[in-house]
């Protein structure tokens, strides 16, 4: 398929070429629609307008973005953004996502940062605004009217009520040859006609009818199939590989060994599977693993890297004077991304260049990693994003891209690698970190919090490979590149402004040191000391990294403080919050849920089999990147310990909303994914290896559950910058559920997941 144009052809070509680009229909697979490798465009300059926007002679707009869509709706929202700023309809925009030969390097699509990065006053949004103003300036001499009397609309620049000239006529397929204008005016939300409107996912028809191309569907002529052979135990290394054990398997092309990385390449996928299963490898026994049942104690005893995130330097004094000091400890397990599709990638590595089709969220960093692994200059490696199965941080996409590159490098032919389910869940992905979190707070005689201290321990190993650390995912580590580990270090006293936006800091504090204050709450005395220890397993950013674990602890502890004060949990939260945006989401959720003000637990704990209750939790994501409050109503079966959520009410504020339809979808998915993680998901292991390797040992709530009602209250603010929205709601789900279980039964769950057995144990330990 060569219908598309490469970046070089575009940059040097005529308008006619750009037109042919725009004629690639929407359903054309993005990977093959982007042309053949022939370019070294690592220098795509983000300060230049032509790096972001091209307008063809027929007026079609092509936009280039470094933020990709893996199910969260960024393709549609970014298309809306371009259409809005350039005043054209959506079907006049073609968006090219994440291809190192044609798109600017925007790092990784992660951390709820795509909206802040591309929808405010820089990058893609600013490029589109610059392009609109540039077209208006071009039209002024053409129409003989000063630019300030011209308007852009529907692909034309017009004199009010009169003559007009089309974008295509003005630009005639040429480059803008302009710098991004940081003063170019964004169109105000009050005038939006495309952005801010509920637009269904642009590829929804293709998706529902199985026509969308995923990375799993990429076929390259002459492509072989690879499978990997991962170690049988954590830390096991290769002693011997007996290639004779697979001799004679039909179609086998090569056994590839590079230090502890082992893979096989064959003509057909089944042949590769057979060879991978039959290959005899002698491994060392591995490092041995700490017992899972004692793991939270184990974490505390490890050497740690300590950071004093915030310290108002008066916590001990305040606690000594407090009427009461409360303490609690919360535990959160390792959890898997568990993407529905085990990861897959295709690589074509030759002596002088390489192309990788990958669902990585980080095409440029992955390009750097591939270049390192196969020994090519980065400019000779092209990584093309092709959507994969939903990813919530760092699933096996980066690792399998490296796998494919190593295998293709060894055979100098294109190789497709499909991870098995066990490869993905035991050895492919980087888990969300296990945490144990100590909370301590002092309250005065009225129950008001006077000091809050939080001390979380989290386990870390590897992470995103970035540009320099291919060993941060399993493949790179097996091939000999060291993962990033935790170097123990004592905390030093923080200087400057308190880091109240850090995920380890509760929303209710707002301490000051030397007159510098921060935070969204009113508790002035605060101290947060984080400990990071080495993890036996690879970890990474799972929606929402550490924020979710810490918020579980903060918001449940807030509920415990509220119960101690015999206060209503909503009123008690409002008493300790001062940032209006988080106050507003709490009030909006309470109003929509018809929250009945009273303390938890319910006073009339009945003896029936089903106990019902409600709980609330809220968060200011990263301190200021989105605000959410969630109320959940639950039924708890006191015989079995089974928890059934009946209804969720979510109020969310992420600033000006780009696409309310996409936002609702993200909120609903986040809430239910959070419920599955809170109620049933936990990575498990024995003394040598991970044992949660498939869907019978890692428990994801299936389609067949009774799905609770989900009501969303969207607070649309046009007077602030746009915030992220993909990770906000999930952050508070475990806490809201735990608080609702407490309200219903008086039993406090301090360890995720809230399995039936754990709920029963908590019920039985009630006084």
């Amino acid at each position: 398929m060569t219908t598309g144009l490469s970046r070089r052809e575009f940059l040097t070509g005529s308008g006619a070429l750009v037109v042919s680009f725009s004629m690639v229909p929407l359903l054309e697979p993005l990977a093959s629609g982007q042309g053949q490798f022939d370019t070294h465009m690592s220098h795509i300059d983000p300060t230049r307008l032509d790096s972001w926007i091209a307008v063809a002679s027929d007026g079609m707009v092509t936009a280039y973005t470094g933020k990709c869509d893996f199910g969260q709706g960024m393709y549609t929202a970014q298309t809306q953004l371009i259409a809005e700023e350039l005043c054209v309809s959506i079907d006049r925009v073609r968006l090219i996502q994440c291809d190192t030969s044609v798109t600017p390097d925007q790092g990784t699509t992660s951390g709820s940062q795509s909206t802040p990065t591309n929808f405010n006053s820089s990058d893609l949004a600013q490029a589109a605004a610059t392009a609109r103003e540039a077209l208006i300036k071009m039209a002024a001499p053409n129409l003989g009217v000063p630019a300030n009397l011209l308007t852009a609309s529907n692909g034309f620049i017009s004199v009010k009520g009169g003559r007009r000239v089309s974008y295509g006529e003005l630009i005639a397929g040429k480059k803008f040859n302009l710098a991004l204008d940081l003063k170019a005016k964004r169109r105000p939300p009050s005038e939006w006609t495309v952005l801010g409107k509920p637009v269904p996912s642009l590829d929804i028809g293709a998706l529902m009818t199985g026509q969308s191309e995923f990375v799993h569907n990429v076929h390259v002529p002459g492509m072989l199939h690879g499978r990997v052979v991962r170690p049988p135990a954590v830390g096991a290394t290769v002693v011997n590989v007996d290639e004779g054990s697979v001799r004679g398997i039909p179609g086998l092309v090569k056994v590839v060994v590079r230090q502890n990385f082992i893979g096989v390449v064959a003509e057909k996928q089944t042949q590769a599977i057979t060879a991978a299963a039959q290959l005899k490898v002698v491994w060392t026994t591995g490092i041995g693993l700490p017992a899972q049942k004692d793991f939270y104690d184990y974490i505390r005893k490890q050497p740690s890297r300590d950071v004093l995130m915030v310290d108002s330097r008066d916590v001990e004094q305040q606690l000594a004077q407090a009427a009461t000091v409360l303490k609690a400890t919360y535990c959160h397990p390792y959890q898997a991304h568990g993407s529905i599709g085990a990861s897959c990638a295709v690589a074509d590595v030759r002596a002088d260049k390489a192309t990788v089709w990958s669902s990585t969220q980080s095409v440029y960093p992955t390009r750097a990693g591939v270049a390192t692994l196969v020994g090519l200059p980065v400019d000779d490696v092209r990584v093309i994003f092709v959507r994969g199965s939903g990813c919530y941080g760092l699933n096996g996409a980066d690792a399998v891209s490296f796998d494919a590159a190593l295998l293709s490098h060894a055979v100098q032919r294109p190789v497709r690698v499909q991870l098995s389910r066990a490869d993905e869940m035991a050895w492919g992905e980087n888990y969300g970190a296990a945490c144990v979190i100590d909370q301590r707070a002092g309250v005065d005689a009225t129950g008001t919090i006077v000091a809050w201290e939080c001390e979380p321990w989290s386990a870390s190993f590897g992470g995103r490979p970035g540009y320099d650390h291919p060993g941060n995912v399993i493949t790179g580590a097996l091939a000999g590149y060291p993962p990033q580990t935790v170097a123990p270090q004592a905390a030093s006293q923080p200087t400057g402004e308190l880091r109240n936006g850090n995920n380890a800091v509760p929303s209710y504090v707002g301490g000051c040191v030397g007159g510098k204050c921060g935070g969204t709450g009113s508790v002035r005395s605060e101290r947060v000391l984080t400990h990071t220890v080495n993890s036996p397993f690879f970890t990474g950013p799972l929606r929402s990294p550490l924020r979710l674990q810490n918020t579980f602890a903060h918001e449940c502890f807030m509920d415990e403080l509220s119960a101690h004060a015999k206060a209503d949990p909503v009123a008690y939260r409002l008493r300790h919050l001062r940032e209006p945006r988080i106050v507003d989401v709490v009030k909006a959720a309470a109003q929509a849920a018809k929250w009945e003000a009273r303390p938890s637990p319910k006073s009339d704990l009945r003896r029936g089999q089903i106990a019902n209750g409600r709980g609330i939790a809220c968060v200011a994501y990263e301190g200021d990147n989105g605000y959410v409050a969630l109320i959940v109503e639950v039924d708890v079966d006191v015989e079995s310990g089974r928890v059934q959520a009946k209804r969720f009410v979510v109020a969310q504020d992420c600033g000006p909303i780009s696409n309310p339809a996409g936002l609702r979808n993200q909120i609903e998915g986040g809430v239910l994914q959070g419920m599955s993680r809170a109620l049933s998901e936990e990575v498990t292991w024995n003394d040598r290896r991970i044992t949660s390797t498939n869907w019978s040992s890692y428990h994801s709530l299936p389609l067949g559950i009774e799905v609770p009602a989900i009501d969303c209250v969207l607070i649309n603010r046009s007077d602030v910058e746009a915030s992220g929205a993909g990770e906000t709601a999930i952050t508070v789900v475990a806490a809201a559920l735990g608080n609702a279980i407490f309200d219903a039964t008086g039993a406090r769950l301090r360890q995720v997941p809230f399995t039936g057995a754990r709920v029963k144990a908590a019920l039985e330990s009630r006084s």
Binding site: I204, M208, N217, S389, L701, I705
Partner: protein, 144 residues
């Protein structure tokens, strides 16, 4: 009708994907646990990742793309489009085809029966709420 030259033990999924380049059925787990590889074999939902191609013989295999097109989606696909019932969309073969096969055989199924039929189908983006609404919408058309 397609003729392919493969080992008879080859899972149907690999024939559909690698040999025939179909996009609907996806590799999710290879264990028949998640549903992403689901196809209809003579109207029955089967997990093509654990179905040897030798079992197919002359049976009719219908994949998600065989059910309808963007221009002319099948009513259950239309219901999913109406409800915007997907995020990444990787699981859709399992969700849509399992529901269709069940409802075609049990047009008067209750919500609880539909849930039971979907007990082995996963969506990890958790578009469950919309998906269930879409299935209910399709079920209503089957009642008439």
């Amino acid at each position: 009708m397609h003729a392919v030259d493969v080992d008879p033990e080859t899972p149907l999924l690999y024939v559909l994907g690698d040999e025939l380049h179909l996009r609907g059925p996806k590799f999710g787990c290879g264990l028949g646990q998640c549903g992403a590889c689901t196809v209809l074999m003579n109207g029955h939902a089967v997990r093509s990742c654990v179905t040897p191609v030798s079992e197919v013989k002359h049976a009719e295999i219908l994949t998600l793309e065989g059910l309808g097109t963007s221009a002319k989606p099948h009513p259950i696909q239309q219901a999913f489009i109406d409800e915007e019932a997907a995020q990444c969309g990787f699981c859709l073969s399992g969700v849509i085809l399992s529901a269709k096969a069940f409802l075609d055989r049990n047009p008067k199924a209750t919500d609880d029966q539909i849930r039971e039929a979907l007990a082995g189908v996963l969506c990890r983006c958790f578009a469950h709420a919309r998906m269930f609404k879409a299935i209910q919408q399709y079920a209503k058309t089957r009642h008439i």
